[in-house]
C-alpha cells in the first residue's frame, strides 16, 4: 500500500454475514474420528442443514496426528452455503480433541481462540514415540496444556472421555458425541443426537450408554470431590509398626536416627532392600544411611532439609537392590504376580492362563551368582568361560506355570541365602561404596554437588547389554564430575551430565557434554 493512501472512515462494505458452525476434530489415526464426523454430518442433515466434512487420512491414519473438519449451516432461499475445506485459525466454534496433547496441538494451530471456541478434550494421554524412547522420563508436561487451555478456550469441557467410554463398553467417539450434545453449541436436541446413533446398526447400545454418561458428566460439571491429595510426608510415628519384632526394631531405629523429612523415603527404601534380601540387609541399609546422615549434618544439611540424606535414602535403596537373576526369578514366581496378571486380563473361572517368559541368560549372569572367589577364578579362564557361555547363552522360553520351569525359577529365587557371598554382590558393593565415597567427599565442599552425585545412580538400570551401557554412562559421568569438582558450578555441570545421559540410548548427548567439559577442564 502506498503511503499517501487516504484512509476514509467508510462503512463496512457489506454485512459481516453469518458464517457456518465449524467443528474441528483432532485425533490420532484409528481413534474413530471418522465415525464421529459422520455422526455430526448426519445430525446436521437430519435438521435440513447442509453439512460438509473433510479429512486428510493419508499416512496420518497410521497412528499419526490428524484432523477432521466439519462445517454446517441451513440453506437460504434454496441456495446452498459455500463451505470451506479446512479450519481457519480464529474461526472455529468447536474443537474436539481425542487426546490431551492433541488438544495442545490444536491450540498451537490457532484453532482454539477465546472469542469463539468451545474446547472439548479428553485429558488422557497417549504418549508420542519421542516421549517413549527417552531412557529417562520423556513424558510431556500436561500442565502446559492445562495452562494454555485456560488462556485459549472460550469454554472448556475437559475430562477423561476415554476412561468413561471404556467404562461403558464403547469408544471415545461416542463419549465425545455426548459431550458435544451437552455443550449446547449446536441448536439440536439431545434426542436428535441419539437418533443418529440408533440409526447405525453396530454397537448402538454401548454407544448410547456412553453418550448418556458423557452427557450427564458434562451437565453435572466436574465432581466436587477433589482427588485425594498426595500425603506430603508420611509421619513415621503415626505409621503402623510391623508385627515382626526384628523389622519393628529396624523401624524404631529409623525413626530415632533419621531426621523427620527423610523418614518417608527411608521407609520405602528399607522396604525395598528387605524385600530384596532380608532384615539384616535392611540393617546394613540403615547403617549406611546413618553415615550419610552424619556427613549431611556436618555439611549444613539441617538448613537444606537433609537433601543429601533424602537422595541417599532413595538411590542407595536402588543400588542395594540391584537386578540379578535371583531377584527376577523371585518376582516371577510370587503369588502376587500371578494375581496381578489375572486381574489385568480379567481372567474368569473357566479360562486357563499360562505365561511365557523371554529369558536370555548369559555366562556373565551365571558367574555373578557363583561365590566371589570361584567366579573370579573362572574369569581368568577365558576359554573355559567361552565354552560355558556357548552352552548357556541363548534365548529361552520359560513356561512359568508349568511345574518343571516353575520349580527351576523357584529354586533360583530361593538362592538369596548365597547372594551376599556372590561375585555380583561383591562387584555391586564395591561399586556402590566408591560412589558413596565420592558423594560424601563432595558434600563437605559443595553440598549440591554431593546431592547430584547421588542422583547419578538413576543412570544405572537394565539388564545385560542395557545394564552395561547404563553403567558405562554412570562411570563416565562420575569420572567427568571429578574434572570439575573444584569449580563453583560443579553441581550445575553434574546435573547437565546426568540429564544428557538420560536423553538418548547410545549416549551421544552425554558425549557432547563431556567434550564440552574437557575443553575447559
Amino acid at each position: 500500500m502506498r503511503d499517501e493512501t487516504v484512509r476514509l472512515a467508510l462503512p463496512a462494505a457489506g454485512d459481516a454475514t453469518e458464517r457456518p458452525i465449524s467443528i474441528a476434530i483432532v485425533a490420532m489415526g484409528g481413534q474413530g474420528g471418522g465415525v464421529l464426523t459422520d455422526w455430526i454430518v448426519q445430525l446436521a442433515e437430519n435438521h435440513g442443514w447442509v453439512a460438509q466434512s473433510t479429512s486428510v487420512p493419508g499416512v496420518a491414519q497410521r497412528t499419526g496426528a490428524t484432523i477432521y473438519y466439519i462445517e454446517a449451516m441451513p440453506p437460504a432461499g434454496g441456495r446452498k452455503p459455500i463451505l470451506s475445506l479446512m479450519p481457519t485459525p480464529g474461526d472455529v466454534d468447536v474443537v474436539m480433541a481425542a487426546e490431551f496433547i492433541e488438544a495442545g496441538r490444536s491450540i498451537l494451530r490457532g484453532l482454539v481462540t477465546p472469542e469463539r471456541t468451545t474446547l472439548i478434550a479428553s485429558n488422557h494421554r497417549s504418549f508420542a514415540i519421542g516421549e517413549k524412547i527417552v531412557p529417562g522420563n520423556g513424558i510431556a508436561d500436561k500442565g502446559a496444556v492445562t495452562g494454555a487451555i485456560g488462556v485459549a478456550a472460550k469454554t472448556e469441557i475437559i475430562f477423561d472421555l476415554n476412561a468413561l467410554a471404556i467404562a461403558h463398553g464403547s469408544v471415545i467417539s461416542a463419549a465425545m458425541f455426548g459431550a458435544l450434545a451437552a455443550a449446547g453449541v449446536l441448536p439440536f436436541s439431545r434426542e436428535s443426537y441419539l437418533d443418529v446413533i440408533r440409526a447405525g446398526e453396530k454397537g448402538a447400545k454401548a454407544s448410547i450408554r456412553t453418550f448418556e454418561a458423557a452427557f450427564d458428566r458434562v451437565q453435572a460439571g466436574p465432581s466436587d470431590v477433589a482427588a485425594p491429595a498426595q500425603p506430603a510426608e508420611t509421619d513415621a510415628r503415626s505409621s503402623p509398626t510391623p508385627a515382626d519384632p526384628q523389622l519393628a526394631a529396624l523401624v524404631a531405629r529409623l525413626t530415632q536416627e533419621l531426621p523427620g523429612p527423610v523418614q518417608a523415603m527411608a521407609r520405602a527404601g528399607l522396604r525395598k532392600v528387605v524385600d530384596f534380601q532380608d532384615v539384616a540387609y535392611g540393617a546394613e541399609y540403615l547403617d549406611i544411611l546413618g553415615t550419610v546422615c552424619t556427613a549431611d549434618r556436618n555439611s549444613g544439611g539441617t538448613e537444606r532439609g537433609y537433601a543429601f540424606t533424602q537422595a541417599a535414602a532413595k538411590h542407595l535403596a536402588n543400588a542395594m537392590s540391584y537386578d540379578d537373576v535371583i531377584r527376577v526369578a523371585d518376582l516371577k514366581t510370587r503369588s502376587s504376580r500371578r494375581t496381578r496378571i489375572e486381574r489385568e486380563l480379567e481372567l474368569s473361572q473357566d479360562q486357563v492362563l499360562q505365561t511365557t517368559e523371554f529369558m536370555h541368560p548369559r555366562m556373565e549372569e551365571v558367574m555373578g551368582m557363583l561365590p566371589a572367589s570361584f567366579g573370579r577364578w573362572l574369569g581368568t579362564r577365558p576359554r573355559l568361560l567361552g565354552w560355558l557361555d556357548r552352552r548357556v547363552n541363548r534365548g529361552r522360553r520359560v513356561r512359568t506355570y508349568s511345574l518343571p520351569w516353575f520349580l527351576a525359577l523357584y529354586v533360583v529365587g530361593g538362592l538369596r541365602g548365597m547372594r551376599r557371598r556372590s561375585l555380583r554382590h561383591a562387584v555391586e558393593t564395591a561399586h556402590r561404596d566408591r560412589w558413596l565415597k565420592q558423594a560424601i567427599d563432595a558434600v563437605g565442599i559443595n553440598y549440591q554437588l554431593g546431592v547430584e552425585i547421588l542422583q547419578c545412580r538413576r543412570l544405572v538400570k537394565g539388564y545385560s547389554d542395557t545394564h552395561s551401557r547404563g553403567l558405562s554412562k554412570f562411570d563416565r559421568t562420575l569420572a567427568t564430575i571429578k574434572l570439575v569438582e573444584r569449580r563453583d558450578d560443579a553441581a550445575d555441570w553434574a546435573r547437565r551430565l546426568r540429564e544428557a545421559a538420560l536423553k538418548d540410548g547410545p549416549g551421544k548427548e552425554l558425549d557432547g557434554v563431556i567434550q564440552t567439559i574437557k575443553s575447559f577442564a
Binding site: 500500500m1 476514509l8 462494505a13 454485512d15 459481516a16 454475514t17 459422520d38 479429512s55 486428510v56 487420512p57 493419508g58 497410521r62 497412528t63 459455500i82 463451505l83 475445506l85 479446512m86 480464529g90 495442545g104 496441538r105 498451537l108 504418549f127 508420542a128 514415540i129 517413549k132 524412547i133 522420563n137 513424558i139 502446559a144 495452562g147 488462556v151 505409621s239 508385627a243 523389622l247 523415603m265 520405602a268 522396604r271 532380608d278 516371577k332 514366581t333 510370587r334 504376580r337 500371578r338 489385568e344 486380563l345 473357566d350 479360562q351 492362563l353 499360562q354 517368559e357 523371554f358 534365548g395 522360553r397 508349568s402 511345574l403 538400570k461 537394565g462 539388564y463 542395557t466 540410548g505
Partner: protein, 719 residues
Amino acid sequence: MAERSFAREVEDLRLGDGDTFRGEGILAITKALLQSGVAYVGGYQGSPISHLMDVLADAKDVLDDLGVVFQSSANEAAAAAMLSASVMYPLRGAVAWKSTVGTNVASDALANLASGGVTGGTMVIVGEDYGEGSSIMQERTHAFAMKSQMWLLDPRPDHECIVNLIEKGFELSEVSNTPVMLEVRVRACHMHGSFACKDNVKPAHTIKDALNNPKRDVGRIVLPPAAYEHEQEKIKTRLPAAIGFIRDNKLNEWMGPQQGKVGIIMQGGMYNNVIRALQYLGLSDAYGNTQIPLYIMNVTYPVIDAEVAEFCLDKDAVLIVEEGQPEYLEQAINTVLRRKDIQARVHGKDVLPMGGDYTAQVLLGGVREFLEKTEPRLLGNRPPAPDAAPVLNHPAIEKLKQVVPARPPGLCTGCPERPIFAAMKLVEEELGQHHVSADIGCHLFSILPPFNIGATTMGFGLGPASTSAFNVKADKRSIAVMGDGGFWHNGLTSGIGNAVFNKHDGVFVIVDNYYTSATGGQDILSSRAANKRRKTNNSIVQAVKGIGGQWVRQIDRTYDVGRMRDTLKEALTTKDEGPKVIVASSECMLNKQRRVKPQINKAIKDGVRTVKERFGVDEDVCTGDHACIRLSGCPSLSVKQLDDPLRDDPVAAIDNSCVGCGNCGEVAEAAVLCPSFYRADVIHNPSRWDKFKSKVAMSVIGWLQRRRDRQRPPLEALA
C-alpha cells in the same frame, strides 16, 4: 481384500434419476463415471483415490450389469496404456491414480496417447496430493497436461459441479480427440457432500464390439511422419475444437457483479476458500453472493484467451488465485493480456505465497493486500477478521510450544515389518551402519524414530534400483528395502532384474505383507487370499529366481527376529556374488485382525477351545530404560509412571490393544534386553486336559508360593 468393505457404497452406485447421492467426493466421481457410459475403468490405488478402486473392486454385479470392464492395473503406466482402447474405438474409458507420483509413472503412455489422439472419450482422474497431510513431493499435475496437451479440469469442490464436469469432460475429449485430466485435491476427494443422481448409462459401444471388429490406422501411431502431423493436429484442430466446446458449454463460470474495477481469476478448486476469504472481508455472504466479479476456471488448461480478455477488459486489476508453483496460469494470462494489449494489472504470486496450501487464512491475507493495492475502498472500515495471533503470542502458549511432541505416523500395532527393522537395528549395532535405500510403502516409516533407518527414497519400487550405483567391492554392502507392492509395480525388473544383470553385490530386502497395505490393503499378485476375480498366490521368490536371482532366502515369519537378524548378517557377509535377496513375509496385521478377529470371537462364543495371546510387562522387573521401545515403537507398547517414590522414570507398559504378535518377546530375547516381558496365553473354553493340567500344576505352585510368602518378612506395614 481391501482394508474396508464397500458393500454399502456399492449400493450408492445403483442410484438413479430422482435419487440424491450423499457421501464422499471420490465416490461421487465413481458414480459420475457410470453415469457417463464408460466401457472400461482402470487405475492404481493410492491416497486419495484408493476408495474409487476399492468400491469398483467390490461392485462386480453393478459393473457386469452395465458391461463395464474394471481392472486393478499393475501400475499407473499400465493404467495409462489401457486408455489406448479409445484410440481407434468409440469407447469411453477412465483411469485413476495418485498424482503427481502416478502421473510420473504413466507419462510415457500418456504422451503417446495424447500425440495420436483418441476417438472415444478418455479421462484420467488424478488425486492431487498437494498441501498439508500430503505424503509425496510437492508438485503440480498442471505441467503434465501442458506438455502432452491434455485438457485439465479443476472443478469447484462441489459434488454437483464435479459430476457435471466429468460428464462434460468425456464429450470434450471426444469433440477434441484429446485425453482429459480431472484434478481433485485430497480434501475434495474425502469431502462429504451430495448431488442429484442420474441413471447409469450402458456404454453404446462395448469392449466386446471392439474386439470383434478390429480397426487400425497407422496415422494414429507415434512414428514419423505421423508424429509431426499429430503436433500440427494438436495446434490446428484439437485445441480450437476444445476451446469452442468449453466456451459453448460454459465450463468456466462467471460469478458476482458484471461490472467492477477489480476481479479475481481462480482455479475451480480454490473457489470455496476464496469465498470464505471474501466473507471475512465483508465482500460475500456465506452463500457465495460476492461483490467482486469472479472468473472460475473449472478448466485450467487450455486457458480460454477470449474469456480471459473479456473478463479483464474493463478492469484495473485482476488477482489470480493459483495454488502451487510455478505460476503457469499467471504467466499464460499475462501473455494473453499483453498480446491483446489489455491494461488490467495482473496480481497473483506477488500477494500470495508461491507454495503451500491456499487456506482461507492465506487467501484472506492475499486478497486483502490485493485490494489495498488496487481498490481499498472495497475494504470499507475493515471489519476485524479472525486472527489467532494474539492468543498464539501469549506466554502460556509460547510455553506450550516447547512441550508438545511431534506425532509422526508409524507402523501399526503388531505390524510384521517392525521385527524386520528391529533385526536391521541389531545388525547395525554389530556390523555398523550401512547405506540403506528405502522405498514407498508402510516400511518407509523406518526412516522415522525409533528406527531411523533409510537414507533415500526415489519412488515406488525403486528402492533396489537406487542402490545400483553402489556396485563396487567395499567393506560394506548396500541394503535396499522394497515392499511387495513396489516389487510388482516395477521393482522386479527395475530393481532385482537390474541387480542380477549388473551383478550387483548388494542386499535386497523384500517386505511381503500379502497386500499393498499402505494404500488400503488391496490384493496384488502375491496376495495369499483366494480372490475369485484375480489370480493371486504368485510367489515372489519364484519370480526372483525366474529373473535370475541365485541367493534368495524366504523368511515366512518376520516375527522371528533372531532368524531375520542372522539372515541379514549372512547376506551382508557371505562370499557369494550377485544380489542377496531376502523375502520377509508375514500378513499385514491390520488386515489380519480384520479377518481373524470375528472368527476368534465366534469360536469363543461357540465354545471352541481358543488360545488368545497378548504381552505384558512385569513392572517391578522393568527398570525403565526403554531400550525395548527404541527397538519397537509399537503403539501398544507405551510407558507408565509408577506410584513409587523410589522410581524416577516411567516403566514400559503394554495396553490392551496388544494383538500378541510376539515382537516384544523376540526382540527382548534377540537383543538380550531384559526379562520383564511375558506372553500371557489365555485358553478360552479349555479342554478337560487343559483344566486338569492347570489344576495339578497350580495346586503345587500355590503351595510353594504360600510357603515362600510365609518366609518373607511382613512388609505391608512399611508401605
